[in-house]
Structures are given as structure tokens and as C-alpha cells.
């Protein structure tokens, strides 16, 4: 795939290395001459030194031929504008933006950014997840090896997608204790429908856990 990477971060070296290693064609736009030089020397890729927020800089690359634009600068506004221009002016198929302020993720998604990456949001969700599973563990009878708590994320191919909890033939000794949907935890009722990307906290005896997991896959 043709990928346009816009970055001022030194750590972009590793992203470029991974993508080049997978056979993708990378082009870099950066305001940082050191990053330009190191990526050129390492991967011999087309590079434009300049501000990607400026259309004339974008047009120095083959932007109309790009499959993906990755906006990875430290300036949220620039990442948004680059993705908007890529989508609306140059008909790029897919855009990925770093969103430093997680409060703006939904706004970015509404304005032409297909995938938002936010370090703060990822760490926040990990902490929340950790909190939830810690809380669950707290209420389990201590030292009982027979009870297992497992977290399962439902994919688009899951066989229980759009099914209500009561419709799923769980084995005895097994319940879904909690569903985490869009970062919010809820206690499911029998009528709760399972959706794509739901995280199910499954509590079961060790004897039936495997059976329960295969139901959710």
C-alpha cells in the first residue's frame, strides 16, 4: 500500500521501519530535518521537508495515489486538517490521526478521520479495565482456584452478536457479570443485546470456562 506519514516524532522511525518491512511504500513529510535525514538514510524513501498543513507541501508527494494518510504530528489541529484535506481534496481512502487530547476523538471522527489514536485514551481505558477486573477479583472467594474470571472482546464474527443474553446457551456455573461498551461498564440483564467490540466479563467454574469461551467466539 502507498502510505503517507506526517510526523515530527523521532519514534516514527519504528513505525516507518515496521511498515517498510511489510512491503508498504512510505512517503514522509516532516518539519524535522533530522528525522528526514535518518529515515532517508535508513529506508531510502521519498521525503518532503516542510509543513504538511500547507497544501502545496502535500502536493509535492503523490497524495492522490495514497491508500492511507497517517497524521502523527504533536499538533492535534494539524492532524485534523491534514486528514480533512486528504479525504475531501485528494480522495485518500483512509486516514489515521494521533489525537493528543482525548476529548476531541469524537469530533475528529465526525470530520473525516477514520481511525483516531490517543495515547491518553488507551492508557485511561487500560486503567479502567484494570480497576474493573481488580474490583471483580476483590469479591471472589479468596483462594478458590475453581472460579475463573475472563474478559472476552466480541469481534464482528462472533456467533453471539446481536443476541440477547438469555438466548445464549451458557453452561451451568457460568454468568456474564459485566459488559463494557464504549468505555462504560454495565450489568447485563437477560434482554441485553451483545454488540460488536463489547467486552464481556465472564465468571465461570474452571470446568466450563472453555465451553463458555467457545460460545462467545
Amino acid at each position: 500500500m502507498n502510505i503517507l506519514l506526517i510526523s515530527e516524532f523521532e519514534k516514527s522511525y519504528f513505525l516507518a521501519k515496521t511498515l517498510c518491512g511489510q512491503g508498504h511504500h512510505i512517503t514522509l513529510i516532516s518539519r524535522d530535518p533530522n528525522l528526514c535525514q535518518s529515515l532517508y538514510e535508513a529506508f531510502d524513501i521519498p521525503i518532503v521537508l516542510g509543513d504538511a498543513g500547507n497544501s502545496s507541501i502535500l502536493e509535492q508527494t503523490d497524495i492522490r495515489e495514497m491508500d492511507i494518510v497517517i497524521a502523527q504530528s504533536e499538533n492535534d489541529a494539524k492532524n485534523l486538517v491534514v486528514c480533512e484535506l486528504a479525504k475531501k481534496e485528494y480522495c485518500v481512502k483512509s486516514t489515521i490521526a494521533v489525537v493528543n487530547n482525548p476529548a476531541n476523538i469524537v469530533f475528529f471522527q465526525q470530520n473525516g478521520v477514520d481511525y483516531c489514536v490517543s495515547e491518553a485514551a488507551v492508557i485511561d481505558s487500560l486503567i479502567k479495565k484494570n480497576d474493573i477486573s481488580n474490583s471483580i477479583r476483590k469479591f471472589l472467594p479468596s483462594g478458590d482456584p475453581d472460579i475463573i474470571v475472563n474478559e472476552v472482546t466480541l469481534s464482528a464474527r462472533s456467533q453471539i452478536l446481536n443476541k440477547k443474553i438469555w438466548e445464549i446457551p451458557f453452561p451451568p456455573q457460568c454468568i456474564v457479570g459485566c459488559i463494557i461498551r464504549n468505555g462504560h461498564a454495565m450489568i447485563p440483564q437477560g434482554t441485553t443485546e451483545c454488540k460488536n467490540n463489547d467486552k464481556l466479563i465472564v465468571i465461570a467454574s474452571s470446568a466450563v470456562m472453555q465451553e463458555a469461551l467457545s460460545l462467545l467466539s
Binding site: G53, E84, K88, A103, N104, F107, N111
Partner: protein, 146 residues
């Protein structure tokens, strides 16, 4: 019926008080309006007289928390006047979409982006093109007078 109507003062929020935004703030200070000024650099507020009828907020204008603190919900008009085109565009879109304020003007230097953002409903003003237009009109008038 009362002969006297107390008119509500228009509430204008201006984001960016640098070399472009500050003269606008100065101009608006002389008008009978309520003014809120937002800038990331608190030092810029030292230039603004204490007689300002409004608020000075230190913060990032692309952060909804800063806009909320500035009472953006009650603004009649918003001017995005930072020195960064991308920031001005993002603010204008955010204010329109999230806070439903129609009167939003963004300063833009890059003429190539103007059309795209006008099509998206963002009202942009390009000071360079305004100056070029004024020069052209002055020249045109002088030629016609000869």
C-alpha cells in the same frame, strides 16, 4: 409599554491575542460589547487594559474545557485569530458543530485551503487577499480619476 428597552450587549469570544489577534481586541475594546479573550500565553494579557468588560482565559482554544470555561455557549460570535491556520480551522469547525454558533470567523493565510473550508461552511478571512484587494481598488480608483 415601556419606552426603554435594555439591549443585551453582544458577547464576542476571540481566540488568539498575538500580533494578529491583539489589534482586533484593541478595536473591539472601544465597542459596547462583552469580550472574552483566550490565549495559551498568559503574558499577552498584560497588554489588555483592566477596563476590559469580559474575561481573559489562559488555555488552548481547541480544548472543549477551555471553550466551556470561556462560556462559549452564550457567545454571539467567535473569532479564531491564532497564528496557526490549522488551529483556527479546527476551532471554527468545533464551535459550529459542537456549540451550534453560526457566526464564526477564522483567519487563514493559506489561500489553497480557502475553497475547501468555505464549502464545509467555515467562514474564512484571508488578510493577505484583503490587502491585495484593497491595493487593487486603490490603484483602480486612481487610474479612473486621471
Amino acid at each position: 409599554m415601556s419606552m426603554f428597552h435594555k439591549m443585551k450587549k453582544p458577547n464576542i469570544v476571540i481566540i488568539g491575542c498575538g500580533h494578529f489577534g491583539y489589534p482586533i481586541v484593541q478595536f473591539l475594546l472601544e465597542k459596547d460589547i462583552r469580550l472574552t479573550v483566550i490565549d495559551t500565553n498568559p503574558d499577552v494579557f498584560a497588554k489588555i487594559p483592566l477596563s476590559l468588560n469580559g474575561l481573559m482565559i489562559t488555555g488552548d482554544g481547541t480544548d472543549p474545557d477551555t471553550l466551556d470555561a470561556a462560556g462559549i455557549n452564550s457567545a454571539d460570535a467567535v473569532i479564531a485569530a491564532t497564528n496557526d491556520d490549522a488551529v483556527n480551522i479546527m476551532i471554527a469547525q468545533m464551535v459550529k458543530q459542537r456549540y451550534h454558533i453560526d457566526s464564526v470567523i477564522a483567519r487563514l493565510y493559506d489561500t489553497s485551503k480557502e475553497k475547501t473550508y468555505r464549502e464545509l461552511g467555515v467562514q474564512v478571512i484571508n488578510p493577505v487577499m484583503l490587502f491585495a484587494n484593497a491595493c487593487f481598488q486603490t490603484w483602480n480608483t486612481a487610474v479612473n480619476e486621471v
